[in-house]
Symmetry: C2
Subunit: 333 residues, 2 copies
């Protein structure tokens, strides 16, 4: 019987980066390694960087290989986790790639893979704002918008593993085109590129703003600039965030009306600007979500921030390690 505290390695793979960390059962990160990844490189090259980040994280943790029970990898795309396959990922530009086996072989540890949006939801459930509730939704706002729903303490996958896609519900029927082919999706109006577009359009119309200088120094303007300008009290930037909050509120009101979660947890880089878009978001939810008996569903930014996906991958690896250990305990102790 193994009695020492089990540790795992959690890995978060994105289009531009990979993060790996040794994680203990309380969700503390013990050794961390971060790497940038050049976009659209072949899978073998990306997986080699991932493996080297995992080795570096282990080294930095000061723990030996024998202390690690498994590896969990979160990545964007449509996966077949039981087979270790990435069927399709637009962000990585991969199709039918075996991910689990090469990692497992290189590191000599049982490995599991899961979608990074699901990983984010599991991260909140295990170590974040979802620890004490059974029904909640995560909305991750970055370059795109992802959503994960936890029902009865488990990921709700829907009939074909695509439930919770809050980024692709229509909030403005005649709104701008979305990458998915629809128009007026929440993502097309409130993800990073949409916020940047709003700023660029306002500047083109001759609005006075700190953003004018920022745009002159760094083309093209990004959502990050709109955040920085708002922090400096720029009126145009503040107005843009208020508008983003209204669209987000409309989408989240729909999520609440259909799914009735106890909490809505906002993650992703854009959610760092919660102080600027939160008030108009909440006002819009109060105005639109009228049939939920509760006066107000809690809406809050994630306490885990960008670490939610890594922590959820680690939590999944921990859970699988426990299952294996229970299965191998002798029947009579």
């Amino acid at each position: 019987l193994q009695t020492e505290v089990p540790h795992v390695i959690g890995i978060d793979l994105g289009g531009y980066h990979v993060s790996a960390a040794v994680v203990n059962p309380e969700g503390h990160l013990i050794g961390i390694s971060e790497r940038t990844v050049e976009r659209f490189r072949p899978p073998a090259e990306v997986l080699a960087i991932l493996v080297s980040a995992a080795r570096e994280a282990l080294e930095r943790s000061g723990l030996g290989h024998e202390a690690i029970r498994g590896i969990g990898v979160g990545l964007p795309g449509t996966l077949r986790p039981t087979e270790g396959l990435c069927l399709f990922s637009t962000i990585l530009n991969w199709q039918d790639v075996q991910i689990r086996d090469p990692i497992q072989e290189a590191l000599g540890l049982p490995t599991c893979i899961l979608n990074n949006v699901h990983a984010t939801a599991v991260g909140e459930l295990s170590f974040g704002a979802g620890k004490d509730v059974d029904n909640f939704a995560c909305v991750s706002i970055g370059t795109g918008i992802g959503g994960g729903v936890i029902i009865g303490g488990e990921i709700y996958r829907g009939d074909s593993d695509s439930a919770g896609e809050v980024g692709h519900i229509t909030v403005d029927p005649d709104g701008p085109e979305c990458v998915c082919g629809n128009q007026g999706c929440l993502e097309a109006l409130t993800a990073g590129p949409a916020i940047a577009r709003m700023a660029a359009e306002s500047l083109k119309l001759g609005a006075q703003s700190l953003l004018t200088d920022m745009a002159a120094q760094s083309q093209p303007i990004r959502a990050e600039h709109v955040f920085r300008a708002a922090r400096e009290g720029d009126a145009l930037a503040i107005k843009i965030w208020e508008k983003v909050g209204r669209y987000l509120g409309l989408g989240i009101a729909t999520l609440i009306t259909l799914v009735n979660p106890r909490r809505v947890i906002l993650g992703g880089r854009v959610s760092q600007a919660f102080e600027f878009f939160g008030p108009s978001l909440k006002e819009e939810v109060r105005r639109r979500a009228r049939v939920v008996p509760r006066d107000f569903t809690e809406i809050l930014p994630s306490p885990l921030g960008a670490r939610a996906s890594l922590l959820g991958s680690a939590a999944t690896a921990l859970a699988e390690a426990r299952c294996r250990e229970v299965a191998t305990v002798p029947k009579t102790v």
Copy 2:
């Protein structure tokens, strides 16, 4: 041990009617009684009509009282089923009414109550278009719009029992006011009164239509007239249904994107016009719900029609009767 086939009485109570029927385990209606109910009468009066309808149904079935195992009652409103209470119902204008106990006493049979939208979903699950699927959604379109979601073969209630309220998601942010206090809800654009309003507005603008005569004969015009006119090939009526289909498609695309059901089953009186609004509804869903891997979630009118709620109440009563019987079987047979 009871060996004969168990029967129950299913009851559907609405704002204007009550239907009761003896139902066998295959979902066949053996005796039926229908009564109209004057609107907004005191609970005791309504419950007396309900009890008398149940007695008539039993009499018409030709079965004796001893053949009946229980009663299931579906009604609109916020209920506390385990206590037999109706906390609040706008349609019945009731508040804090004990429903179960008076029925149970008057008829001498174990009685259970449930929300009629939940009852509709259970009806489809037990005897209708949901028999062979685990994840599906029901959308009931009548005077209002109700929605019920079945996840893993069970009603999904959400955190405060108000999940699936598809009638109150915003489909036109600047649309007409809804009874719920929001504006542009699906219900405010596609339920019976909204369809009637669209017709009345078109006629006011001088549109040529069979509806002109119908309106002259029976004021105010109702959704039913628009259905009859469409059946006779009236161009205005057909155009109205096409528009209704587009709004419904927008709302159902959102439902599919968030909940990812295998099927969407349309019930309620308005769904009788499916042949007229179905094509534009499906086109809009195809256009808007782009991130669901399946080419097309099935969308179909309910095979149970107006009987779904009564059948779901009966199925719930049957399930409860089975639980009681298992609990009372001697441990050694």
